[in-house]
Symmetry: C2
Subunit: 345 residues, 2 copies
DNA sequence: CTGAAAGCGCTAACAT
DNA sequence: ATGTTAGCGCTTTCAG
């Protein structure tokens, strides 16, 4: 109401009011090197009184980094990705950068749009969990991107983009092996959307181990919600030669299947054992407790962010990581549902 | 390797290559109004071939909005806040804006720093879930903020900032009433950090209803992890006149307490009933299923974001919402742990 | 130690 | 319909 546009005070306003040049003010807000202590104090006082804050846009325009990175994931409500996000945000903060979260529901169009948004905002780099590594539009777009990119959880196969993933294949093999070691011989694998890289890899791991052991593969990839899980469990157990163990390949599937088993009154692990992929908060609390393959979720997010920053800071030397794939190890957490412990624990 | 700095192509480069003025290019990228179809096509072709993308920073510098909003929350791994974030991000996207997520672990210093970061970036507004509404630094800072702010889940008491919260007081009253109606007479309330607005309100609701019914208040606000939960459950049940019902006031507390009850082999609801605050994925699946007060989480995030945008778009007219407090209703989901259903369900 | 001045990429008068 | 030009707020040579 006093000035013309009552907006934010500018650097030159500070300079004028402090009776110094803009250069000096600039120096002050950038660490105060090479400035007379007297002037420095005076300028700081003016900054204080005016409530001045440097305008990022102007700095960026001068060619600086934007100090922001993008984080493009299917959903932020998904505990897997929200934990990754928490870790990534911590790394971003440590590098004095902002994390811009964009969600895509695994939709290729949304992914392209998100990347475009980040490009316009001149994000310094971004982390991406692509729903489908085959999307041509996305691949084409990514080829033109000038800033560092790191994929998380799912690589863009055949592209020179570093990826941070869990060892899905090995994890599923280990899980299958564990069930075999328990003496189970008819091990069914339950999952959803095998188009996702992670699930695809896990299915391959299951398959590999089953074949190695000379057993029969029993695969049902139709699970998308509780309904389909209940249906799948009923059908598979009603078959002539029903499975004695169930391997579920992702968190929601495990939970749906567990709910179905419970609802149908099927005793675990007596009638059928259960081993899930992805740990979850109540896995150790439900009865029976659920054995799972645990992914290093937090480490995935952290590693992806660290890798991204290392590439960003490396300048052009980022070549060294091109197409590099970091595989983090998963662990098997044995609990009661696979038969490792009495059902009461 | 061809040009000097091999950076992003600029608008004037496009103009030059297309043989037009910068204004024309500007018009093209802003909808192409008042441009000859011929030229428009030509310019678009050049844009395409150069892979040109407008530089947001330059636009912002011209005085435009930054088309980004801040989202400052304690943690993004917390399912409550990540669901809010998902909803807020959807609204932001609908308004063609970015969501910048900042986490604070409820630390006042981190909150102030986060707000400062957003201010420097000239975010168009932000949503904030303050850990402690009393923090003087934060209050002072917020007073100087020029852009719209909306608090989420926890208001800044006594400040002219609109708040979107759940009806914590009413929710806890309703829960307590429900237990009383079941015939329980010794109802213990278990919780953590009563400094948080939400918990404080819920405790007051519990207290109010207990007093109204002429019962004795039994409060333990010491729960912060599984250890303390187990300890609290043991002590409270070992007392001379132990409770016949437990009311837990937040999601993690409910889960810790449930785990402790299970571990200690205490039958629910026979020996002691349990009613929790916040629904969670397996609440209906564990045995017994847990009755809870369910918060409209997604609506909280959505409403906060909508309110923020309405204030942002309102220009100065945003006065109308000053200090307004939107209270969203919670629901009681009766399951087995309070005695509403046989333990098997 | 400090200041003047030249842009960074874009938009918006103001011309033509 | 389209070009010219003056900044937006800041950093950064280059001279004092």
């Amino acid at each position: 109401m006093t000035k013309k546009k009552s907006k934010h005070p500018t650097l030159s306003e500070v300079a004028k009011k402090a009776g110094v040049g803009t250069t000096t003010v600039s120096r002050v807000i950038n660490g105060g090197q090479r400035v007379d202590p007297q002037t420095l104090a005076r300028v700081q006082k003016v900054i204080e009184s005016l409530g001045y804050m440097p305008n990022q846009a102007a700095r960026i325009l001068k060619g600086d980094r934007t100090r922001s990175i993008g984080f493009v994931i299917p959903s932020i409500a998904d505990p897997f990705f929200s934990s990754c996000a928490e870790a990534a945000q911590a790394i971003a903060r440590a590098h004095d950068s902002l994390l811009i979260v964009l969600t895509t529901q695994n939709d290729a169009h949304a992914e392209v749009e998100s990347v475009n948004v980040l490009l316009r905002h001149r994000a310094d780099g971004f982390i991406l969990a692509p729903g489908n590594s085959q999307s041509q539009v996305l691949r084409t777009l990514l080829k033109r991107v000038q800033v560092p990119v790191v994929t998380l959880d799912r690589p863009m196969e055949g592209m020179p983009i570093p990826a941070v993933v869990a060892d899905n294949f090995a994890g599923a093999r280990m899980a299958t092996r564990h069930l075999i070691d328990h003496g189970y011989r008819r091990i069914a694998c339950l999952t959803g959307e095998p188009t996702l890289y992670t699930l695809h890899e896990r299915i391959k791991g299951y398959q590999k181990e089953i074949e190695t052991a000379g057993l029969e593969m029993i695969l049902d990839a139709s699970i998308k919600d509780y309904r389909s899980a209940e249906y799948a469990v009923e059908s598979v157990l009603a078959a002539p030669n029903p499975p004695d163990a169930l391997l579920t390949l992702k968190n929601s599937t495990t939970i749906f299947v567990f709910e179905a088993l419970q609802k149908l009154g099927i005793s675990v692990p007596e009638r059928v054992a259960l081993l899930g992929y992805d740990d979850f908060e109540l896995a150790a609390t439900v009865r029976p407790s659920i054995s799972v393959v645990q992914q290093p979720i937090e480490a995935l997010g952290r590693t992806a962010a660290e890798l991204l920053f290392s590439r960003m800071l490396d300048g052009a030397g980022a070549e060294k990581d091109r197409g590099k794939m970091v595989e983090l190890h998963t662990r098997l957490i044995p609990r009661a549902s696979c038969g490792c412990r009495p059902p009461q624990n």
